[in-house]
Symmetry: C2
Subunit: 156 residues, 2 copies
């Protein structure tokens, strides 16, 4: 699917706020509201817009602590690697998981209400995934920025 200038503008706007009406979006995109709606629908159906999600304040729901985890694994067994990926994806406390180059093999972003919950999770991680060699934890003392926004250039 290729995106023209209008689609790109829409993507930038909708990443900031996907609750806006088409009329409101039309103030920025020089397109009629119905054209905007049709484009948004196409973007959703084609999977360019993966999901529309509410971002909640962690402090408000009593889940304040974020942990950044670097994970080293034994890479010999492809089946265990697949299992680990599945395991990570299934854990609700694991917000994000990346398979990376470098010293670490995976980098995780984990939320937990407290250190005990986090410890329990990591205990299960190592006991249920035999190819996990070791991990190091960084506790987030403050969140400087938080989002999944991807800047979309208007011209390719």
């Amino acid at each position: 699917m290729d995106l023209d200038r209008f689609d790109r503008q829409l993507l930038n706007l909708v990443q900031q706020d996907c609750g806006q009406t088409a009329d409101r979006l039309a103030e920025h995109v020089a397109l009629s509201p119905s054209a905007i709606q049709r484009r948004l629908r196409r973007l959703r159906e084609s999977g360019v817009i993966e999901r529309e999600s509410a971002i909640v304040d962690p402090r408000a729901v009593g889940r304040p602590t974020l942990f950044i985890v670097s994970l080293q694994v034994e890479r010999e067994r492809p089946d265990l690697m697949a299992q680990l990926r599945k395991w990570l994806a299934a854990q609700e406390h694991v917000q994000q998981a990346f398979y990376v180059t470098g010293e670490a093999d995976f980098v995780l972003v984990v939320t937990a209400p407290d250190a005990e919950t986090y410890d329990a999770l990591m205990g299960r991680l190592v006991s249920e995934n035999p190819n996990v060699a070791r991990f190091t934890t960084n506790v987030a003392m403050s969140v400087v920025k938080r989002g999944l926004t991807i800047p979309v250039p208007l011209e390719e």
Copy 2:
């Protein structure tokens, strides 16, 4: 602001999909649609729901590469620390930035269309922020999971 069982259910649902109608949400929450709408509005106005955002597929917009960066700084100068935070928050390519304990001082998640763009950004990081001592980069080869969802327990 304190949240009852219904609010907590709503937050979990709306983190998965904030485009749902109140009727649809009512199928899961045992509340009338109008009660749901009022609660959602309150959650937004009180800041429990910070933002509602579309999540776009990085591949679809030609910005496929994610970098995980560990940053070490000289911590002597509080003013420079504040400046660095501001700088990070202002960079559109910096999706996330955490101030952490441990070996690293900051962990960043950065998007870029290619390595050159990334290099240029990091060049500006060090030249415009004199207290940046060093950084190490991990390139994300694959994204196992990606989200900002916080599991909200129904009972406090």
